[in-house]
Subunit: 493 residues, 2 copies
């Protein structure tokens, strides 16, 4: 039986399969690259879930479908997906479609390997090390360690685990019950992954002590110190401070030197969540926002956000040179990490992580960097800052727009105040009515497909827009469009 018909690799007929893949690639070029980045096309093609289900013909059957049919599925999948590479996609902390990064991603997929050993990922073991070295150098470290993780949230969790392990190596074996109650400090503006991590890693969310931020969203280091003393007085053992460089909503940068001073005084691990703001280190002009980052023990930095490397690309960087990452996570599985190999098994970095199979996340960033150079990337970042500043000035000029605050970064936060609410700030239901505006405008823009901007309430502030200026394709004209479009969509409100 086994030889009756060689099993279909590339569907039995390699030439047919290649031709078919070329057809797919042309669909990608047309739908995702050309239309997907063109301002004359929609950024999204909204459908209600029930209708979309029909359009996509999602059901999986026992019979396979014809190649032509599958091509149509490919086209539909792209057509009805949101175009995150589109210049009108301001919705998330990533936007754009860089061809070199995309090439890196596609090659990664065609090679389909895992980062565990030099044996099966020789190129990527070396490349990951090179890329991490470069990122560390930008942090200010000439040595250290690191690894790419499946996202910034998990990078942050690694930092939590490493800080715990450094303080209490026994924890790996004996668990948290063998330890005193621990305390983690982070600001009220931190990313929610700190809470998720505290729960997942068994600390419990209560172990996260929330430090006050100032009106710009920056951690107040005096309050950090106060919280640390308080925790100690309550019998908890402080061990970790998570500062943020580039907060998710306001784009604020915690004062790292002041925070590092506190950490130093108390002997605490300093982790900097620079998932969003880390890329600013590439800019000579703006990197002062992260002054002091070289004093951190660990840094999480997501090149998939501002640099547009593509999801996922998140580096956890460590100053440590004692192989803490490996000791903390290793389990020495003998089927992967044999010690009697014919090459230097220090190259088998897979045991540094809590994963087993691990995607290759370095190639897309490496190719992007090779193509742009550090200078090209720096220009992109400086340009994003400049365009964000342009947008801020326009917001200030226009009637009906109200800036939340002067941004430090490329998060531009503002209210759109529709005609019926202008000059009504004193009326008792003003805030409540203003809060209802963003959801309505969001619905309208998505249904028209003209653009996508995120909104949220925040602290005591009702819903406001957060525009992220990250797509390297953007021009001033796009900023003008964005404001004009909000006016157009909201003129009857």
């Amino acid at each position: 039986m086994a030889d009756s018909k060689p099993l279909p690799s590339l569907d039995g007929d390699p030439k047919a399969a290649e031709a078919w893949l070329r057809d797919v690639f042309e669909i990608i070029v047309e739908e995702a690259i050309q239309k997907g980045t063109s301002t004359s096309e929609k950024v999204c093609e909204w459908k209600e879930p029930e209708e979309l289900k029909q359009l996509l013909d999602l059901e999986l059957q026992s019979c396979g479908e014809a190649q032509e049919q599958i091509l149509e599925h490919c086209r539909a999948v792209i057509h009805y997906s949101v175009k995150t590479g589109h210049p009108r996609f301001f919705n998330q902390l990533f936007s754009g479609l860089d061809p070199h990064a995309l090439a890196g991603r596609i090659i990664t997929e065609s090679l389909n390997t895992s980062q565990y050993t030099y044996e099966i990922a020789p190129v990527f073991v070396l490349m990951e090390e090179e890329v991490l070295k470069k990122l560390r150098a930008l942090v200010g470290w000439s040595s250290g360690d690191g690894v790419f993780c499946p996202g910034g949230s998990i990078s942050n969790m690694y930092a939590m685990n490493l800080a715990r392990y450094r303080r209490y190596p026994d924890c790996k074996q004996k668990g948290l019950r063998a330890l005193p109650p621990l305390a983690i400090f982070t600001s009220q503006e931190c990313h929610y992954s700190i809470n998720k991590g505290a729960a997942f890693l068994g600390f419990g969310i209560d172990s996260v002590r929330v430090v006050k931020a100032d009106e710009r969203g920056k951690m107040i280091s005096e309050d950090l110190e106060r919280q640390i003393n308080l925790a100690e007085a309550e019998g908890a053992v402080p061990f970790l401070v998570c500062a943020t460089s580039g907060t998710t909503v306001l784009g604020a940068f915690d004062p790292l030197n002041a925070v590092a001073d506190v950490c130093q005084r108390h002997g605490l691990w300093l982790h900097v969540d620079a998932a969003w703001g880390g890329s600013v280190l590439l800019s000579q002009t703006h990197r002062h926002l992260l002054d002091g980052i070289q004093r951190a023990d660990s840094v999480a930095w997501n090149p998939h956000k501002l640099l547009g490397a593509g999801l996922q690309c998140s580096a956890l960087l460590l100053q440590d040179t004692s192989n803490l990452l490996k000791h903390c996570h290793e389990s020495q599985a003998s089927y992967l990490f044999q010690q009697d190999k014919f090459y230097d098994v220090a190259l088998d970095t897979g045991d540094k992580v809590v994963q087993c199979g691990r995607r290759v996340d370095c190639l897309k960033l490496w190719l992007l960097w090779k193509a742009q150079g550090g200078q090209g990337l720096e220009q992109r970042i400086d340009r994003a800052f400049a365009l964000a500043q342009y947008l801020v000035e326009e917001v200030k000029k226009r009637e009906g727009f109200e800036l939340i605050m002067e941004p430090e970064f490329v998060n531009v936060c503002f209210w759109f105040v529709p005609p019926s609410l202008r000059g009504k700030r004193e009326s008792p239901d003003y805030s409540q009515r203003l809060s209802q505006v963003a959801p309505v405008l969001k619905e309208r823009m998505v249904k028209e497909g003209s653009m996508m901007i995120g909104y949220q309430p925040h602290g005591t502030r009702g819903n406001f827009f957060r525009v992220i200026v990250a797509n390297p394709m953007l021009t001033r004209a796009d900023m003008d469009f964005l404001l004009d479009e909000l006016e157009r969509l909201g003129q009857d409100l």
Copy 2:
């Protein structure tokens, strides 16, 4: 400044960028697809690390490089990478290069979105649900929950966290110190991610109680019961049993019904790590190996392994219909999961996970399934079993090969006994010398690039080969080649 030159999307010139991407695609077709799956080409091109570094020109500079140069980098990256799609790649629990799955992966990369909300991933929110429903149906559940995770290790960790949360919902807030000492049970043959998870989630490795396996590698349910009683006697609270369907080395299937009986008697969460063996559920002929899986609380299943969907594709499936997954992990970030949206926010599944950004892992599997149908996939699996059986018979026939055991699955484990050791089994250093054979042969095959097979010691057994028969392209001729090649490589030993 911001308008001086529109920033290079697709490098400033969309047409040039498209042409460049087409060149990249042709390189992929040639190097990764044609050569990468051809038995007349090498499966790997071994280079010592120092030489490879030179060949790859890894360093990242401040100036960008020319497009032509970048194309050469792309070619080199592929050339020096291991071809995991090659029919002579038997090294890992995945092998092959399916064109439809690859198309799904490439489209995923070109869309570059994240699974958090219906807003930015409408197609994939619905598609993930459909694919998970299909996988659940194969487990035997007509309802339930689930999510794709970044690998089986993390799927296993989710199960641990969910089991803990169901028993002690307080743990999320208060942490493990508020709980009694907990005990997890798994067999000596389990995947190392159970230990890694126990450490990461704060239980500590000591909380994992190792249950004996029989000589075929299957968990002994009587020993499970004994261990549970022992743990209780020692004051620990049993809460979770991790059974394995398809162990990593031997490919053994734990007796799920017997294990489920024990779990039922003791009120324990049953997690089945079917990362490797789950795909057998598609085969009418072989799915009996997982009889009882429908009694599990959770199942981890990696379609990136036997089905060749591509890394990463790992489903965590749950029988639960109470929204446990969401309750356990949610943190209700207001900037993503606004409750005042214009669509049903139950579609925003992103808060079910500990990640924030999450890759789209469903499309590659969905396209593969659409193209092959359940029947096509079933045939692949049946064929892999049949070819593994053919290999076993050949191993038994040939002098110098010694089977470790009759496999249940597609892991074929055996020693190659070189001429100088044949008939010497009684000599005192036999085992030790035999153990040195596999590393030498591995070095030779890799340096020649003729094939790649993993080896490992296991229990009291010294190094033996583990051939994984997973690539759908394989024929009997490849099995014959494999054995001939081992004989050729080892004839002088």
